[in-house]
Symmetry: none
Subunit: 473 residues, 2 copies
Amino acid sequence: MTTTQDVLAQLDQVFDSSVSRLAQWLSIPSVGTDPACNDDTRRAGQWLVDQLSAIGLEAQLAETPGHPVVMAHHPGPVGYAGPHILFYGHYDVQPADPLDLWKSPPFEPVIEDGPTGKRIVARGAADDKGQVMTFVEALRAWKDVTGEIPCRITCLVEGEEESGSVNLDNFLTDQREALVGTGAANGPCDFVVVSDTGMWDSNTPALTTMLRGLIYLEFILHGPSHDLHSGMAGGCVPNPINELTRIFGRLHDADRCIQIPGFYDDVQPLSDALRAEWEALGFDEQGFLTECGLTEDVGEYGYSLLERQWGRPTCDINGIVGGYTGKGAKTVIPATASVKVSCRLVPNQDPDKITQSFIEWVKAQVPPACKLEVLDHGSGRPFVMAPDSPYVEVARAGLEEDLGKRPVLMGCGGSIPVVESFKRILGLDALLVGFGLSDDRVHSPNEKFDLKCFNLGQRTHAALLSRFAGMQV
Amino acid sequence: MTTTQDVLAQLDQVFDSSVSRLAQWLSIPSVGTDPACNDDTRRAGQWLVDQLSAIGLEAQLAETPGHPVVMAHHPGPVGYAGPHILFYGHYDVQPADPLDLWKSPPFEPVIEDGPTGKRIVARGAADDKGQVMTFVEALRAWKDVTGEIPCRITCLVEGEEESGSVNLDNFLTDQREALVGTGAANGPCDFVVVSDTGMWDSNTPALTTMLRGLIYLEFILHGPSHDLHSGMAGGCVPNPINELTRIFGRLHDADRCIQIPGFYDDVQPLSDALRAEWEALGFDEQGFLTECGLTEDVGEYGYSLLERQWGRPTCDINGIVGGYTGKGAKTVIPATASVKVSCRLVPNQDPDKITQSFIEWVKAQVPPACKLEVLDHGSGRPFVMAPDSPYVEVARAGLEEDLGKRPVLMGCGGSIPVVESFKRILGLDALLVGFGLSDDRVHSPNEKFDLKCFNLGQRTHAALLSRFAGMQV
């Protein structure tokens, strides 16, 4: 592994310039959900195309009805016989609001000192530009040191992950033959590597083998045709906020079990072995709560905090609005009120079935005086990768040898619906190797990415490229 | 009652010129809440001082920290032994926006034809300049026909009603001795006459004897110190929106009875007599709902819609907000969520006691993991004037005899905080005799006042002045 060690040394040597490149990318406000950012979002995609081209990949923007996908390919060394890796990431970022809570402008990256060393602060630092760049910098180092890319790789970096990857399924379907067909020009991909998840802690890399699924619905309750004075109409007409809280106030029972009929019917119980492995991680519940600014938790009775985060389904109202929300008082009965609500699903739960049951449950509680409007903001199936997969085995053993650290197996409370899409449409399993930390404030003001994690990510991908190259497929 | 009939005839004869005077007053844009209108607001007050002076009252602008109060007095005939009436109204008007929805400029009054006859259209036509002028024109007619004002009267017409009468309580407190003290120079006032309410319909004058009180609270629930990703934290931390809906979803039971402990303890049940009188009004429930854009109602079981509006306490969430409220989806667990909520109270309920119980009820349901912040946006006591009050009796009988129409007794679902102030600070009951209609569009574009109502209002006050003058106090 002398070559791998040379590549790792190179990564350390040019680390500062890799941070500058990341900062440059982070300064492009690619808020994919905001039409005002459309030009910048495209520009962020093009920026990545240019980077990958410079490393020697054949790279381009592939159009979709929404934001384009960065597609890039490298055939690997002449006579390559190892697996063809499909790398996935995304270049779009979450909206930055509320802006006033940012200590520095979200698209003007700054390096600051944190308790575990330096970190880069900007929207998208960890989710997902910083993670994508761990892989890009690993490729660059291999190229710089050896003149070669050690693996056959295809990169697919989309611009709509924060928009629910609305066009990705169609894109994958269109590209199915090119990506996994027997006659694919570049040869069929063998598995997916995704960098959009977390490490166990800043010293312990992790492979994530379990992801929660997601459904996301919006319920808009319509009452009177226009806002009314609560003195004249209070007690006489349906108040959509009263009705909405009445319905959604019954989402959980006292044990925080979800009351949607049939919600738990298909849930795969956590095995004793998995519960034991997770237990052995020694998760610092108090530390987690402290990071959240809390002293106590709230959650489903009978499960540890980690089990609830990784292995149990949940339901959260993500947004609610109705009536007067300015300063002071206004005695109004509003015409409408609405909630945005999502469920995290675990292996074996069917998003369509849960969606259907959820909508029926709400509908049954709407009084005849109101009208219900339902918007479906998309869903993703839960994902589970067998812990005995050869890719998992090779990665765990190889990283232990090259980096001196054996990655732990984790679950993940979040959803990466694309992982499910890769499985369903392309038939490919995904290896989730990410470098985020739980305090990265992804989706929140002051998002950051530890430079230590950025470095470890680069080193991990560099080592994995070599290890995967050595596998027989 | 020959004299009264002469005065009524005079009112009819000079009605056109009274409309011109009202139009002149309406053309002064006295938007009290808009500092740009400060000069005009004062000018509108001075205009009324001049009108009252011309009729022979001692009138002036009394300064406050805000807009001045028009104060005017007349001792009544020599040797007068009847009650001293305190007349209340206001000369400030609501802002006119949205301007583009007005068919004619809001401060250029026009006379137009409506389904029930001619009406004057301008901001303030019904609320409250038109109503104040019903009383002023009645005084003028008495003076013109008899050379006398038949009653001892004090007029108090403020310029800050649409600003929440922010300086009125202090003003009344300062004037307490002068208005109701035993050594008051003008003698103590006996009761208040307010013209700022409505008629039953354009043919049926009404005395409003019941007003609902109000408490208005804001509850802000704090969970995590910052917004969290629902994938990472869902199921582990308190979600303030989940918790808030859980708590406020229990505000009402299935019969829409309010669940705050002790809420109904002090409620004075509606007497069978009052329920019968209200029932006899033949309220058009379906018409009311149609105006609200509804086909069905929602409200407390066991009461008619009118009873619920006038005589039963209610609780409505007037505003709610938390988390992501933009377009599309964001999987956030927010740091806070809040509701603004108000209760309409009925006679005998104590706003302080209800406020206390409400806050305790919410507090008891907040999980230890959350913090609760409570803002009190003020309260007003409910008001009731005994239907057997001598003033009510004299007014009903007198108007029936003089005008041929017996006023009906009404409740009002809204609050008129000044009525409570007169009671609390001066110890005076109020007789609410108003001439608005429910379609007057007060606070909305194209506010109007039916000339039929303007005329009936003048005639009503002319008759009442004579009837009250004949009472022994």
